[in-house]
């Protein structure tokens, strides 16, 4: 019953979002001169009204030969300035395994720091992957709880003599995924440390701070490489104490109210998969698309 309820809620939110033109958007994470783009492997350090729709992922072939394709979305609504609640869900196609709806994922996230002069931004969040909201192979009978820390640092504060490095930025994320149930059907559910970082070079930043780029196309690109890893740290079944993850080189194109990102998914070891996968994501910045309605916080309480 609960399973049906959560799925209904997730679908209702998705449908209402579309119907109300909560069209896809991902909010800008702006700190000082720096705009951190939305990234795919790990989250950016900002909080804002945004929607990623769709995120299409062709996972690297699993070490057991399984193929997986995901089509997901994520919508974030700001409640207060700097405080947002996101909803993520979507479908997964496994071969073998068939289609399944993924577990509903929610995250309450607060942007607690922006040092504008140093382009340093930090946010803390608490994510819940809701049990019994997935279907088929995506079904999990228990919730998973994840405290999360996201940080970002732009290097615009470097001296002018290092101008070429000033468009660089790094972001990082660390979270601990704690299953709400230690054992399921005789199998251990490990606690994992999910961690990663990105290295990005912003040509928009170069264009506005270092030297003018004549090409309208080039000056909107952000080459990026993401590193996303998962390490079991507790309640780990014997033989499973191995870090898995992907290295994700790619590029982000920044539009005025949206962005498009495409990245390769390169497994770091055989336990992470075989071959190379790919992920693409379209983001919409709701704070820009609907600045006076759906793209602003529900309450301005606490706004400086």
């Amino acid at each position: 019953m609960l399973f049906l309820t959560w799925r209904s809620v997730a679908r209702a939110i998705f449908s209402v979002a579309a119907a109300l033109w909560l069209s896809p958007a991902f909010a800008h994470a702006v700190c000082g001169d720096r705009i951190f783009p939305a990234t795919l492997g790990i989250d950016d350090p900002g909080v804002g009204d945004e929607l990623a729709l769709p995120t299409l992922t062709s996972q690297p072939q699993g070490s057991d030969g399984t193929r997986e394709f995901d089509a997901t979305f994520s919508w974030t609504k700001t409640i207060l300035p700097g405080l947002g609640l996101s909803f993520s869900d979507g479908g997964a196609w496994l071969r073998p395994g068939g289609y399944g709806w993924q577990a509903l994922d929610t995250e309450l996230k607060y942007n607690f720091m922006c040092l504008a002069q140093h382009e340093f931004m930090a946010s803390a969040g608490f994510d819940v992957s809701w049990g019994r909201t997935g279907t088929a192979a995506q079904y999990s009978p228990f919730n998973t709880y994840s405290p999360i820390l996201d940080v970002g640092k732009g290097f615009g504060d470097l001296p002018v003599s290092l101008n070429i490095l000033r468009p660089l930025a790094i972001t990082a994320e660390i979270s601990e995924a704690i299953p709400g149930q230690s054992w399921t059907d005789g199998s251990q559910n490990p606690t994992t440390l999910n961690w990663g970082f990105t290295v990005q070079y912003s040509l928009p930043y170069y264009n506005s701070h270092i030297g003018q780029i004549s090409s309208d196309f080039l000056r909107r690109l952000i080459p990026v490489t993401e590193f996303a890893f998962s390490t079991p740290i507790a309640n780990v079944p014997s033989g499973s104490q191995i870090t898995t993850g992907t290295i994700q080189p790619g590029v982000i194109y920044e539009g005025d109210t949206w962005q498009l990102a495409v990245e390769a998914l390169i497994p770091i070891n055989s336990a992470s998969g075989r071959n190379v996968g790919a992920v693409a994501e379209l983001h919409f910045f709701l704070d820009d698309i609907f600045p006076n309605s759906l793209g602003k916080p529900i309450s301005k309480w606490g706004q400086p």
């Binding site: 679908r11 998705f14 449908s15 979002a17 579309a18 119907a19 033109w21 069209s23 896809p24 800008h28 702006v30 000082g32 001169d33 705009i35 929607l51 729709l53 769709p54 089509a71 979305f73 979507g90 479908g91 196609w93 289609y99 709806w101 002018v160 928009p204 264009n207 506005s208 701070h209 270092i210 030297g211 003018q212 000056r219 005025d256 109210t257 379209l282 919409f284 910045f285 704070d287 820009d288 698309i289 609907f290 600045p291 006076n292």
Partner: protein, 122 residues
């Protein structure tokens, strides 16, 4: 493959692409003098943003090497293009490196800022 989720996503995506006209953060696209350029002189500074800006809440400052502030006129927008912020330079610039510091408030009140340098050649 179950097509229903794909159809739902495609439908929502269609809504997104027909979203009404919107405004965004004003990002600097072009400048005169150009970002990082070397010029013979500069009697005004023109900044072309990705969005329209509010001149009352936007500004430009110019400093010479050593931090001396160069007097500028009141910022205004180009009547033909509200995404262009213009300010007159109050004096003839002597050779050297100058830093332009700007802040802009787009018409939807989003705030952006930045700085760049240009050089006036001897």
């Amino acid at each position: 493959m179950n097509r229903r989720p794909v159809v739902r996503i495609a439908a929502a995506l269609a809504f997104a692409f027909v979203a009404p006209a919107a405004f965004a953060h004003a990002q600097l696209e072009k400048a005169t003098p150009a970002v990082g350029a070397t010029v013979a002189s500069a009697s005004e500074i023109r900044l072309k943003f990705s969005e329209g800006v509010e001149p009352r809440f936007s500004g430009i400052a110019l400093t010479a090497e050593g931090g001396a502030v160069v007097p500028l006129g009141q910022p205004s927008v180009d009547p033909a293009d509200k995404s262009v912020l213009i300010v007159k330079v109050g004096k003839s610039l002597s050779p050297g490196v100058y830093t332009v510091t700007w802040h802009a408030v787009s018409v939807d009140t989003h705030h952006t800022q930045g700085d760049f340098q240009f050089t006036v050649k001897p």
